[in-house]
């Protein structure tokens, strides 16, 4: 194949792969946005379900993992919340909002578990 066609081929491959990927992200985004709407009305179980769906549809979507972690916190599922925050941070290490949420979570989790101070003989 002549080298001059190479850019076309690359563009074609990217363009054909993109719609499927973009569909996944937009579907996940729709789930995330719906989750945010219901969470605002206090329907956290429904929100949790939506964000879980979003993470299944697009496992690279940091916002979905962040929101899911918040829902787990609201439901008192602290181990799951930690795992979801860690995943969100792994996906977007420079996202200050996720980091802020995670710091607040850790503070609360330390209080709940009192690893350093509590002991049972």
């Amino acid at each position: 194949m002549p080298a001059r066609y190479l850019p076309f081929v690359v563009a074609l491959v990217l363009a054909s792969a993109y719609p499927a990927w973009a569909d996944q992200r937009s579907e996940a985004k729709a789930q995330v946005e719906f989750g945010v709407q219901v969470a605002q009305r206090g329907l956290w179980r429904e929100a949790m379900y939506r964000w879980e769906r979003a993470t299944q549809i697009d496992p690279t979507y940091a916002a979905a993992f962040n929101n899911l972690a918040v829902a787990y916190e609201q439901e008192g599922q602290l181990d799951k919340a930690r795992a979801a925050y860690e995943k969100a941070i792994a996906l977007e290490p420079n996202n200050a909002l996720i980091k802020q949420n995670f710091d607040l979570f850790k503070e609360l989790n330390d209080r709940a578990t009192s690893k350093d101070s509590g002991r049972q003989p």
């Binding site: 001059r4 363009a15 993109y18 969470a39 940091a62 209080r111 101070s117 509590g118």
Partner: protein, 265 residues
């Protein structure tokens, strides 16, 4: 022709990459939302019908009777939360009992309680107070206390409340105005002498049926004021206790911790 083809290829590639980048731009906005996290209690209190705050080991202090203030505060908090009925009885003579367990150093007399107060002699640090902590594992003693009060959950422990001073550089924010009169807040490091208090309580939960220790929890809080600020010791004590009361109560009952988090869109 070749040049035209190359330009077309670059243009089409740019469009695809721009589209990809737009798709990658994850967060389209955010929303701060209040949450309430339920925290399970650390101790199962269901076997108990009542709770007895038996008293605390505390070093003698002119400023605050840490034993009696802690007993009063915890009893009132437990009543307000309605976790278990609170036994309203005198506290035990804990200091005297604790001092019986302390072996005096060779050639020295056993420590004597501070006159009339039933408190320990003045205690300056954690280590001094810890030497008396054997009393909390004296199951026979606590079983007897339990029998006297219908086998409640017993809350006891120690409270160290001591003055504290520290000097050093402190960062604080200062307002400044530039030549155009615009206000700015800038961090400034200044040397300050500060004084305040350290509160180090240990709460010990004992099964009044068996005299055995169920759980214990220690905290350390400190507060510092600028040296020219006159803050009564008792208000510092309550300010510090206020910080750890939710955690104390969470040992016995589920609690909801309020906070806020950011949801991403």
């Amino acid at each position: 022709m070749t040049e035209r083809l190359r330009k077309t290829a670059v243009a089409s590639l740019s469009v695809v990459l721009a589209g990809l980048l737009a798709g990658c731009g994850g967060s389209g906005g955010y929303l701060e939302i209040p949450i309430e996290t339920p925290i399970a209690p650390k101790l199962d209190v269901s076997p108990f019908q009542r709770v007895y705050v038996a008293g605390f080991l505390a070093g003698a202090s002119e400023d605050v009777d840490a034993n009696m203030e802690t007993v009063r505060l915890l009893r009132s908090q437990l009543r307000n939360k309605n976790i278990l009925p609170v036994v309203d009885a005198d506290t035990v003579a804990l200091a005297e009992r604790a001092m019986e367990d302390v072996e005096p150093a060779a050639g020295a007399a056993a420590p004597a309680p501070a006159a009339d107060t039933g408190q320990l002699p003045p205690v300056n640090d954690e280590r001094e107070l810890d030497q008396y902590s054997k009393v909390f594992s004296d199951t026979d003693y606590w079983k007897k206390v339990g029998e006297e009060h219908e086998q409640p959950l017993i809350v006891t422990g120690s409270v160290l409340f001591v003055p504290h001073a520290r000097s050093g550089f402190v960062q604080r924010e200062q307002e400044v105005y530039d030549s155009f009169g615009r206000r700015q807040v800038v961090p400034v490091r200044t040397y300050m002498e500060r004084k305040g208090y350290i509160l180090r309580p240990t709460f010990v939960f004992i099964d009044g049926r068996t005299g055995e220790q169920l759980y214990s929890e220690s905290f350390r809080e400190e507060i510092l004021y600028s040296s020219n600020q006159q803050t009564p010791a008792l208000s510092s004590y309550f300010e510090l206790m206020d910080r750890l009361l939710p955690t104390f109560l969470n040992t016995l009952s589920a609690q909801k911790i309020r906070g806020s988090r950011v949801l991403l869109k």
